[in-house]
């Protein structure tokens, strides 16, 4: 291994740019190379299914960092370059162009890939998924075409991305049907009361829902453009375009092929270290081993940023574990959903606020302790929830249920 060789970061996304900048903040003075397959400098993905989708005319900048800002920090950005192989024996990376690059250490920040619908017809024209800028532009164009030709948009998957796209499509004036395989929306991450509030919201904007829908086939026109979606119960849905939002697969291919332990993601510890001391990983491509042995997979900006900071520290030989309360958000119509903590495993849900409006929060408890809060148009609740959870403070169920009790007093008491 050459210690003069650069640290190479694979993947110029949210986590990749964070690792690069944090390495400089941590005092790394050597060469630093950030390699990305896409043609764009690092950019934010969340707006792609939100504002950007129906409002790309407004020049909202998606950039996380411009090339110049990176150059000033001596971060060499190599775009439109795909790393094909990680060779740990010779400590080199092989690019798709055939070029070989020696590394001193490597950070993997390759993100995730949209899951492909495993049915016939999934590759027809007009069947779209959403990951990058080009996808968002293609979906916006397809939705506009559907709106002008009065053909319905079919969204497969009632999760965050599917629902945000459905809201965008309504804004653009297209008819929308959402097909969800389970009995309710966003069922893996929220309580029924939150799912129901979003179902109501979308219905009031004219979205049609089909639950327990098992898509079996997509059929096309003679020209090979999608025209119809068929479900297991024999129903058929006409489609001017189909947007597939059925989750992502962590892109752990380089690591797996190099023999690093992976299990739906590159396995890292709480400091973003892999099994190889020369290699760290951060963001969507990882699965984090918690102290109790469980694996935690998160797909969020916060996770990419925090794991990125940990990864940079680890490369400098320092431990910076990531314990912060996970948080996430989604925008649908005029409702802002903000989530703090992880609600999996809750045994009690208590609501504060006005469910019908909607302007409420669902407080999730396990064994009497607060573990998560989902807030719909209740910004102060969300900010408070982050503070409570960060400081391991829990109101009692009675305090939460008592609308007259000021939950902020708990934070003030401890401060």
């Amino acid at each position: 291994m050459s210690s003069h060789a650069p640290i190479i970061i694979v993947g110029a996304g949210q986590a990749g740019v964070q690792i690069a900048e944090s390495l400089r903040q941590e005092g790394y003075g050597g060469e630093l190379l950030l390699i990305g397959e896409e043609p764009h400098p690092p950019y934010q993905r969340p707006p792609l299914s939100k504002k950007w989708l129906f409002d790309a005319g407004n020049p909202v900048s998606l950039a996380i960092r411009g090339a110049e800002a990176l150059a000033r920090r001596r971060i060499e950005l190599k775009l439109e370059a795909r790393v094909e192989r990680l060779d740990r024996g010779s400590t080199t990376l092989e690019l798709a162009s055939g070029e070989r690059l020696s590394y001193s250490r490597v950070a993997l920040a390759t993100g995730s890939l949209p899951r492909v619908l495993p049915v016939p017809g999934a590759t027809l024209q007009g069947v779209l998924c959403l990951r990058g800028i080009a996808d968002s532009a293609a979906i916006a164009a397809a939705i506009r075409r559907c709106a002008s030709e009065q053909r319905p948009v079919v969204v497969i998957g009632g999760g965050f991305i599917g629902l945000e796209v459905a809201a965008g499509a309504r804004k653009l004036g297209a008819a929308v049907t959402v097909l969800e395989g389970l009995p309710r929306l966003m069922s893996r991450v929220t309580a029924p009361i939150v799912s129901e509030a979003f179902e109501q919201l979308h219905r009031s904007h004219g979205v049609q829902f089909v639950f327990d829908a098992q898509v079996t086939e997509l059929r096309g026109t003679r020209e090979g453009h999608v025209a119809m979606v068929r479900t297991a119960d024999g129903r058929e849905f006409a489609a001017g375009c189909v947007v597939v939002g059925i989750g992502v697969t962590p892109d752990d291919r380089l690591a797996a092929e190099a023999g690093l332990p992976c299990e739906r993601g590159i396995i890292v510890d709480e400091c973003s270290r892999t099994a190889d001391p020369m290699i760290v990983a951060a963001g969507d491509c990882t699965a984090r081993r918690l102290a109790d042995g469980r694996l935690l997979r998160l797909e969020s900006v916060q996770n990419a940023v925090e794991q990125g900071k940990s990864a940079a520290a680890a490369l400098m030989g320092r431990e910076r574990p990531f314990y912060a309360t996970p948080w996430f958000w989604s925008d649908q119509y005029d409702v802002k959903l903000q989530m703090a903590g992880l609600s999996q495993g809750y045994d009690q849900v208590i609501v504060r606020g006005d469910v019908a409006k909607p302007a409420f929060s669902a407080f999730y408890l396990r064994a009497g302790r607060l573990i998560a809060v989902d807030s719909l148009n209740r910004i102060p609740d969300h900010m408070l929830a982050k503070r409570l959870l960060d400081n391991d403070l829990s109101p009692t169920a009675e305090q939460i249920a008592d609308a007259g009790f000021d939950l902020h007093s708990l934070v003030r008491q401890s401060a």
Binding site: E68, P380, M383
Partner: protein, 107 residues
Amino acid sequence: MARVTYIEPDGRAVTLEVATGHSVMSAAMEAGLEGIEAQCGGNMACATCHCYVQDPWLERLPPPGEDERLMLQNVAAERRDNSRLSCQLIVRPELEGLTVEFPERQS
């Protein structure tokens, strides 16, 4: 387009040319300024693009909306009368010379 001056937490002033329609936040992010985090990218979900708007600009800006006012109650640094979220400040030619200061910390 308008020139916007940012005062970093260490007192350094940086002036950027910001295109009309872009936010004060997004230009600062692209340029890699130190005093801003903007984790949510302008979705008003995180309050980590907090800035203090210098005189005489505060009254020349559209006032904060309800969501922004609520988010401002939860910024990490001291909240002042001239606190704004820079993601909500959209640049227009009339804002030529706008000056904002970043706080000590964002999270």
